[in-house]
């Protein structure tokens, strides 16, 4: 375990550490998870050295635990992220995020004329390729990728 990682993990008493985020995506994930509008302490490490991926971002948030749909959301932006659940300064659980085969109500169809963007209905996309990311809309068949993906606010 490298110095910086150990340091950041140990800084938390209870909460969540999201690790192995591609550089530059940490802030996007923090915003997506709405971490800034809460009372919790949030620390975002940017461009940290990573043995596996060269550079990475890391997010630490205190007293906040993720819901299952949030794991899916993270996976769409950071497919290799790991989530550490911390209790009493200890890693209680370590989870890898995975993009599910059916993504419901997390990402939006990019087709403005799609019925899912015109009426109040849950979006539904299918994973057709993991790397590079490619999703297809259940309703209109439009495809989107990691560059133009739209996540539900």
């Amino acid at each position: 375990m490298s110095m910086e990682k150990g340091l950041i993990v140990r800084l938390i008493e209870n909460g969540t550490v999201i690790d192995h985020i591609p550089p530059g995506k940490g802030i996007i994930i923090a915003e997506m998870l709405n971490l800034f509008n809460q009372d919790s302490v949030v620390i975002i490490g940017q461009n940290l050295e990573s043995t596996k991926y060269g550079r990475k971002d890391i997010i630490k948030v205190e007293n906040r635990f993720l819901k299952s749909e949030e794991y899916n959301k993270i996976a769409l932006i950071a497919p290799n992220a790991t989530v550490n659940i911390i209790e009493n300064y200890e890693i209680k659980e370590k989870k890898k995020v995975t993009i599910p085969n059916v993504i419901e109500d997390v990402a939006l169809c990019i087709n403005a004329n799609c019925i899912s963007n015109r009426e109040p209905i849950p979006s539904k996309l299918y994973l057709i390729n993991r790397n590079p990311l490619k999703l297809v809309c259940h309703y209109c068949g439009y495809e989107c990728n990691e560059k133009n993906i739209r996540l539900k606010a």
Binding site: C109, N111, I115, G141
Partner: protein, 323 residues
């Protein structure tokens, strides 16, 4: 052998929605063709007596609505319908879901035309969820959803080819005109991926097929080439599928004027075509095919339009399981 196969295959479409051409197999097509051919030859029986079919047309589309309506009546069904949303509950802000939930109580089958892409899939999901709550499934037929699909048009196109040429495999099919925006073109390409044909895509650069369709063709190992001049391919194509270049698709008039009228199939050009070629068009046409072609025996676009009735009658009968 063939008869036995058809007998076994009966019921393939029963209770199913017809939303996308991609949901269908070659066997599904063959079965629809078989029933349509039979209906054309032997006439229509009142096999849909006591059935009510809802024609929900959020866009007027007179031609498609009339052909569904006529087909339903030939089979003895009653139809209830609206065409255009003026004066309906949709104008009061009712969602598509609520309209479908309501109409599903009145009808055995819904035929939906809607301006949004994916509307038919959503409507089909709504009636499936309704079935899960203990109601009977009301199948949905997509009669055009936005720029997305119009599967019954494609099925009647294939049927017309099959009728004229006796086969679809092995043909050289030229698709001409607006390949970028034309949804009939996209659906036709999806359907042809199930057959072994050579496809020539004839369009000016600005109107060539979208990237995702070309990707699909590559994925399916379809044989195709792109051309920009009708003259270059007229003598080799078995099918000349001509489409209209729609003015309303263009952001400005100048762009439209550049491509307008660049493909005009007239008698003179037709003299270079194969003696057994078929000229097709989903109609309405503007000036892509001049009227002097109409009387040529190779013109089959009116025949194609007429096939809308037996094809839609066959599809409705199969879906309702009344064959």
């Amino acid at each position: 052998m063939i008869c036995r196969w058809v007998f076994i295959a009966e019921g393939r479409l029963k209770g199913r929605d017809l939303v996308s051409i991609k949901d269908l197999t070659r066997e599904d097509f063959e079965q629809i063709f078989h029933i349509a051919e039979k209906m054309k030859k032997e006439g229509y029986s009142k096999n849909l007596k006591d059935k009510i079919i809802g024609l929900l047309f959020y866009e007027p589309s007179t031609r498609t609505r009339l052909s569904f309506d006529a087909a339903a009546r030939l089979l003895g069904a009653e139809t209830i319908w609206f065409a255009g949303v003026e004066g309906t509950s949709v104008m009061k802000g009712e969602t598509l879901k609520d309209t479908i939930e309501t109409v599903a109580n009145y009808v055995d089958l819904i035929v939906l035309r809607h301006p949004c892409d994916g509307a038919a899939r959503w409507a089909a999901d709504v009636t499936t969820n309704r079935m899960k709550r203990g109601h009977k499934k009301v199948p949905v037929i997509n009669a055009g959803d936005g720029k997305n699909e119009h599967p019954t048009q494609t099925i009647l196109d294939l049927f017309t080819i099959k009728e004229r040429k006796g086969r679809i495999d092995g043909l050289c099919i030229a698709i001409i005109g607006d390949l970028k925006y034309g949804r009939t073109v996209h659906s036709l390409i999806y359907a042809l991926s199930l057959y072994d044909c050579d496809i020539i895509l004839v369009a000016p650069e600005a109107l060539q097929i979208p990237e995702h369709i070309e990707e699909f063709m590559k994925r399916k190992n379809m044989r195709y080439e792109k051309r920009s001049k009708l003259e270059e391919i007229i003598s080799i194509a078995d099918i000349l599928y001509v489409t209209r270049i729609q003015k309303e698709r263009f952001p400005d008039e100048n762009e439209y004027n550049k491509v307008k009228g660049i493909f005009r199939l007239n008698k003179e050009l037709l003299s270079k075509a194969k003696s057994d070629a078929c000229i097709m068009h989903p109609l309405p046409r503007v000036d892509e095919i001049s009227t002097d072609v109409d009387s040529d025996y190779r013109a089959c676009y009116f025949e194609q339009a007429a096939n809308g009735i037996p094809i839609r009658a066959a599809i409705m009968s199969l879906i309702l399981g009344m064959i």
